[in-house]
Amino acid sequence: MCRARRAFDLSGAEPLLTEGQSSIYTACMQSKPILSRLPALELTPFGPAGPEGEYRFFALRLPRPGWESWRPGQFLMLRPAAFGLELPWARPFSICHTTARCLICFFQVCGRGTRRMAQLKHGEEVNVWGPLGNGFAVEPDSQTLLLAGGMGIVPFVGYVNAHPKPWNTSMLFGHREPLQCYPVDNIHEYIPLDSLRETRHGELDNFIFTLNERMRDCAEQNGLVLACGPLPFLQTVRKFAKELKARTQISLENTMACGVGACLGCVTRTSDAWPTPEKRGGLVQACRQGPVFWADQVKL
């Protein structure tokens, strides 16, 4: 559709939260999800094209649904009409960003559905329901460390944009593909971002070492750690959180069929630290009670 880019235009971005308004989040939690039928507006490829000229990372711009509000960390279910009967499920995506007029999702091509999404044409119909799930904690005055692995960076675009005191936050980003594949500039604009690329053996150890150090620093200041990425990454974060007693939230990417709490396909097991006694050690839906959980309250 157009040339690859590293950032999308955020002009017209309205702050989701202004200082001293943390109670807004309780209100946002109750913001009812809605189903919207939207025309795809623009698909912007990111990063270098492959040998066949194909791109694997895209920002998808849609008209903003009639949402009252949303919280960074919440997600939506997206299903192009072109999935037809062949692909019955919608796909879950983090809400990357909204402006007064637009909603932006960011995705990586990894299977049948995202491959089809990479072919979306201008005006093609897409069904979207959301905002879904709970979202990340915001503590404006706490040191906040954002840990992102690969596509786990997506919800943090909205997070740093909405944070009332972004100077209190910083990010460590681990990735496999070239940095230009990810929406890093939209984060860099607001906060310091350290990225580590894993291409060779041994580089992962380096990343894990840095991860541990940064979490330790954060824990010493009683800061807040937020993590999003693939399961092995979250398992490491969770282990360190326990060792370092770091207050940590993780966002799970469980397989989801419905996104609304009905199919029970996305469940995760809680730990003894789960707030309601009757659900301790039991199963909860990641799409409803999550996707963001306090690391000590779930088992991975």
């Binding site: 299903r79 692909l87 069929a257 609304v260 199919c263 029970l264 396909g265």
Partner: protein, 319 residues
């Protein structure tokens, strides 16, 4: 246009304002879908399978998408009948829309206990006996595959729940589904619903692993519609009680196809995952779809499928 239907049972009727129900396990307890439509606009809500005691279900991954369908091995995770009666039922619009409790148990006695418990709940209009869930090692699959066992469970529930319409949900994983239907009819069922999921599996070639932790799961979605239609059609020939069609229905035309094959009502299952307003949309669009094909009531269409040879005659006549 009046699209109401009554499922005339042997003991109890079940009156529906329209023939569109939701299928168990795909619509939660109903409230999950309240943001996407008016629950009162549905013909009825069949809630997620309920057991006497809470159940954990199977390990994850327990759902996987397949071509035009999905496999599930959720294994009847639920919080038990007491939780349902105390917390879920009171929030449902049961005065306006029949709530149908889908029930699962491991023995006829346990089925009877569960039925007796639900019999005293005014908010429950009917019980749907799940004799056909393929996911549970004990029970489920056995009841649904043996006409004698299915009949025993049906009569146990019939006796324990004298105030309720009793629907029996049949499994397609049998040699002769009409025989199963006849057997539960004789045992006192007021209606039958069919089909539950088809036993299937999916594998990951690269990892050489099954895609479901349980290995086997139940297939649902548009892929199974032809099987469901066939089952409805065969059962309608064999019994007098009303039949509720389930399997792959995602729009009003699909629903009318089942009515044409002889069903009194339909249930929307995996379609609810394609879009969360699917069941609401089918209910809302049914009148228009009827007008489109020139009928003014469900009776006009129900079971009017012409047989193959008649069709052929007509075909040659017009040729």
């Amino acid at each position: 246009m009046d699209i109401s239907v009554t499922l005339r049972g042997q003991t109890h009727d079940l009156a529906l304002k329209n023939p569109v129900l939701t299928a168990s396990g795909t619509f939660g307890c109903g409230l999950e879908f309240a943001p996407y439509g008016d629950l009162k606009s549905l013909g009825g809500i069949v809630v997620k399978g309920i057991s006497l005691l809470p159940r954990e279900g199977n390990p994850c991954p327990r759902v996987v998408e397949t071509a035009a369908g999905m496999l599930n091995a959720v294994g009847l995770q639920n919080d038990g009948v007491e939780d349902f009666c105390a917390h879920k039922l009171p929030s449902l619009p049961w005065r306006d829309t029949p709530i149908i409790a889908n029930i699962y148990a491991a023995s006829a006695d346990e089925f009877a206990d569960l039925a007796a418990r639900l019999n005293v709940e005014d908010g429950v209009a009917a019980l749907e006996i799940n004799v056909s869930c393929p996911n549970v090692a004990k029970g489920g699959v056995l009841f649904g595959q043996d006409p004698t066992l299915a009949a025993a469970v049906t009569s146990a529930v019939r006796k324990a729940a004298p105030r309720k319409h009793v629907m029996v949900k049949l499994s397609p994983n049998v040699t002769d589904i009409a025989l199963m239907a006849k057997s539960v009819e004789e045992a006192g069922a007021d209606s039958v619903s069919c089909i539950n999921t088809l036993l299937g599996m999916a594998v990951d070639l690269r990892l050489r692993r099954p895609k479901l932790a349980n290995v086997l799961g139940g297939l649902s979605g548009p892929a199974i519609k032809p099987v469901a239609l066939r089952c409805v059609w065969q059962i309608v020939q064999a019994v007098h009680i009303p039949v509720v069609g389930v399997g792959g229905i995602v729009n009003a035309h699909d629903a009318l196809e089942f009515i044409l094959a002889g069903a009194h009502a339909v249930q929307i299952g995996s379609g609810n995952f394609m879009r969360p307003d699917c069941a609401f949309a089918v209910a809302a669009q049914l009148s228009a779809a009827c007008e489109e094909i020139g009928i003014t009531s469900m009776e006009e269409l129900r079971g009017t499928l012409q047989n193959g040879s008649a069709l052929q005659c007509k075909h040659t006549a017009t040729a």
